[in-house]
Amino acid sequence: MSVIYLLLTISIVIAVFFFVVFILSVKSGQFDDTYTPSVRMLFDDELVKEKDQVQKTTSKNKDE
């Protein structure tokens, strides 16, 4: 078998792979909101903080 068939198969498999990934990402809703993630990305550093203080206030909120 000529090598061109092999090359064609490989190239098409790769192309189809990326195509399927694209369809799946649309399906999962990644393109529904294209703004918020761009802002969220900038918060990541501040989000990681000690959570030990959380405990004391939860009881307070329940009084509502």
């Binding site: 098409i12 694209f22 649309v26 393109f31 802002v39 900038l42 203080q53």
Partner: protein, 792 residues
């Protein structure tokens, strides 16, 4: 004057008695509490991202009680299984990155909230929580407490969650994917015709191209076949007919060519054509996630109200389940959902939503109250006369105008041209084929298909989507949110403009204040202002902001009598502000105007009179419009302002007062029957019918995050005076489309020369088609940007 500093939380000016906490100024206790909550929970980063991001929390007492009703809560939940519940809440206050940050950190405020995710364009937050630890009501209250009160309306409740339609992205993705690959595979054949290796693998390449174009033909292009079929069935030659014909011929001829090994076919042109067409379609869809153009009364109505059952207990009841004879408790600032009779309490009902009347109406017990009004002075009890669906206000929506669709009855410029285009292409194809049948019969079929392929009006079909799609984006940036491309086209064609009065040409909450009576000295003014500060009544707020440059003093014994007035003491002085009866001034002659009376100690001082204030530039706008358009004002209000309006508006403007919602609708329908094309500019629910009936309904909105009725466009109030410019630009866009269509005709003529003479090779088609599309896209985009420059 005391130092006026901005509240650290919400940015409002805090005066005299600012609350100082942690060396920061706060305008009210609410803001301070929010700050405390955030700082205790390590969330003070909220204030680093943006200055004054917050809103002062509003009174929540009882507001979310209905969420304790599990039937209601269940229906609102998106997902509900054991320890995990998910709900999406709409929060109008979301406006900056601080909002996103704090709302996505809700889990720090309560550990039963597992996660929260903000969708900024839609202004929603999706909260995942454990209902064993925290109830839905507690979440709503928690959000309310930090100044992000969620808005829950009947709309959330009734409509099934609409599934997102992403098919256009799939179709576009498939077409783009196939286009790229087919182009790649067909490239060798464009130039190397008789090369040994190429000949060897030719059929493999061709069948691969065929495989790639199958999903394009059957899936991506399916919309065009359906639209063409629908058009033909309705006996209309819309633009989809020649498009579908072109796509069909491209596919059949190409398949035929490769099956019989005649040539390589036009799969590259086929996939490219579909890709560009879908690109245009995608581009013209500009959606504003946070706006809705389809709202009806359901968006205004609450989900539930408080019913007093036979045992005298209060319970939350769904609005739809209210039956005749139910006794309801309406709290301050709540909407009255049903036609009813007042049983207990003093009602002051704000009908501005429904009738356009600004001044609240007072009702005594035993009087009838219509649905849609808002109670503005304390709690009342009412007895239901008719359920929600049969009330006076909701009946308007049963008018058949709400079932018709403007989009279907309008023929766009493209479709008008398409009719002649299709006919002329078919006749060219027929005559050229007949000619070749006599000269060289073998070529006849080739010429026939070639004409249909090259004449496929791709560039023509793309002119309007790109020009209007770009216009939609430009208008959106300038706070004029148009529903779709067709609305711009209709706007350009209009010849009549109708305006509502209250809230449309007058500014809500903005009045001209004049004072009549004994002049007040500085001390008296500051006493007055300090007293007004304590009141939340709309008139107090207007008067408060009207009196500037006064010092604030500390009062004692402030007492507000809801719906009547306020009294307060300062040292040995007593001040009373409010209605004529409240300040014991019944003898003062009472004209129709809204007034606030003042009594200091024993002396009657005078009254502040409130007048409608017209929007800035109103008179100029009408003068500009007058030569070109027929103008009218339809108001639900009384004719107290008629003389004033006549003075400032051009003579030819018709003025009609005391119009019911139905009368407004019928007035517009009458004009349309006399073949006028009408633009209605309105705001409240009372204009909903007229907005829907008109060719273009434009809703004026002080704040686009707040609701506006169903319409074709939403214009931010501040841009009202620019309306004429917007219409002019819309007209300019139509001219651009016409020029662009002329350009696409030139390409078609060049292509037809190749086709008629029987020399259309795939490479010519593959060059002409994208070239014409790209030049049309470039032309329309550049030109629309150019003409809209004068808007800035």
């Amino acid at each position: 004057m005391t130092d006026v500093s901005a509240c650290f939380h919400c940015g409002d000016p805090c005066e005299a008695d600012a609350i100082v906490f942690d060396k920061k100024n706060f305008c009210c206790n609410g803001c301070k509490i929010v700050f405390e909550i955030f700082s205790e929970n390590d969330l003070s980063g909220y204030y680093d991202l943006q200055n004054f991001p917050g809103a002062s929390p509003k009174e929540l007492e009882g507001k979310y009680d209905f969420l304790d009703n599990s039937a209601i809560a269940d229906k609102l939940l998106e997902f509900n299984d054991g320890g995990a519940q998910i709900i999406t809440l709409y929060i109008p206050h979301i406006h900056c990155s601080s909002c996103i940050w704090v709302l996505e950190n809700l889990n720090k405020l309560d550990r039963n909230i597992k996660a929260s995710q903000v969708d900024f364009p839609k202004k929603t937050v999706r909260v995942t929580f454990n209902s064993e630890g925290i109830s839905l009501k507690q979440i709503a209250c928690l959000l309310g407490k930090i100044g992000y009160a969620p808005y829950i309306s009947l709309d959330d409740f009734q409509t099934e969650k609409i599934k997102k339609d992403r098919s256009i992205i799939y179709k576009l993705g498939i077409a783009g994917f196939a286009f790229g690959n087919v182009m790649f595979l067909s490239f060798p054949e464009y130039f190397e015709v008789n090369e040994f290796w190429l000949d060897q693998y030719k059929s493999t390449f061709r069948w691969l191209m065929f495989a790639f174009s199958l999903p394009v033909f059957f899936y991506s292009a399916s919309g065009y076949f359906i639209a063409a079929f629908k058009g033909l069935r309705a006996k209309i030659l819309n633009i989809d007919v020649p498009l579908a014909l072109g796509i069909l011929v491209l596919f059949v001829r190409s398949t035929f060519e490769i099956v019989f090994d005649i040539g390589s076919g036009f799969f590259d042109s086929l996939t490219g054509l579909v890709f560009f067409l879908l690109l245009g379609k995608y581009f013209q869809q500009k959606t504003y996630g946070f706006l809705s153009f389809e709202r009806d009364y359901k968006s205004y109505f609450p989900i539930a109200v408080t019913r007093i059952n036979k045992n005298g207990r209060e319970e939350a009841v769904q609005v739809n389940e209210i039956k005749k004879g139910d006794r309801l408790l309406i709290r301050n600032d709540e909407l009255i959902p049903v036609d009813s009779i007042l049983l207990k309490g003093k009602a002051r009902i704000d009908y501005s939503f429904v009738t356009g009347e600004i001044e609240p109406v007072e009702k005594e017990s035993g009087e009838k109250i219509f649905a849609g009004g808002k109670q503005v002075s304390g709690s009342i009890e009412i007895d239901t006369l008719k359920p929600v669906s049969q009330s006076y206000l909701t009946q308007l929506w049963s008018n058949q105008v709400f079932d018709s669709n403007k989009e279907n009855s309008f023929t766009s410029l493209t479709n008008t041209i398409s009719k002649y285009f299709t006919i002329s292409i078919l006749s060219i194809a027929a005559s050229a084929t007949t000619y070749w049948l006599f000269v060289q019969p073998a070529l006849a079929m080739n010429v026939f298909t070639a004409i249909l392929i090259i004449a496929c009006p791709c560039a023509l079909a793309m002119s309007a989507p790109f020009a209007l799609g770009n216009m939609l984006r430009i208008f959106g940036k300038l706070k004029f949110y148009v529903k779709n491309d067709q609305a711009i086209e209709r706007l350009a064609k209009a010849d009549t403009l109708i305006f509502d009065k209250t809230g449309t040409i007058t500014a809500n909450n903005k009045s001209l204040v004049t004072y009549e009576g004994t002049t007040l000295n500085k001390a008296e003014k500051s006493l007055l202002k300090s007293t007004l500060r304590t009141s939340g009544h709309p008139l107090s707020r207007i008067l408060y902001s009207h009196l500037n440059g006064c010092e604030l003093v500390k009062l004692s014994d402030v007492e507000e009598v809801v719906g009547e007035g306020i009294k307060a003491k300062f040292n040995d002085q007593q001040i009373k502000i409010g209605s004529a009866s409240f300040v014991n001034a019944e003898n003062i002659q009472n004209n129709l105007q809204t007034a606030v009376h003042i009594r200091l100690n024993k002396d009657y001082k005078g009254s502040f009179l409130f007048q409608n204030k017209y929007r800035e530039g109103l008179s100029e706008l009408f003068k500009e419009l007058a030569p070109e358009y027929q103008l009218a004002i339809l108001s639900g209000d009384n004719n107290g302002e008629a003389a004033n309006l006549k003075k400032i508006l051009p003579l030819k403007t018709s003025l009609l007062f005391q119009q019911t919602p139905e009368e407004k609708l019928n007035y517009i329908r009458q004009l349309q029957q006399d073949s006028y094309r009408v633009v209605m500019v309105g705001d409240g629910l009372n204009d909903a019918g007229a907005l829907k009936q008109s060719d273009v309904g434009i809703a004026i909105s002080e704040n686009v995050n707040v609701f506006s009725p169903a319409c074709d466009a939403i214009l931010e109030a501040g841009k009202f005076k620019e309306l004429h410019k917007y219409i002019k630009v819309a007209k300019g866009a139509m001219t651009i489309i016409k020029i662009s269509i002329a350009i696409s005709f030139l390409y078609n003529i060049v292509g037809l020369y190749f086709a008629v003479t029987g020399q259309l090779s795939p490479v010519v088609a593959a060059i002409l088609m994208p070239l014409s599309s790209i030049s049309v896209v470039l032309f329309t985009t550049l030109m629309t940007n150019l003409i809209s420059q004068k808007l800035n």
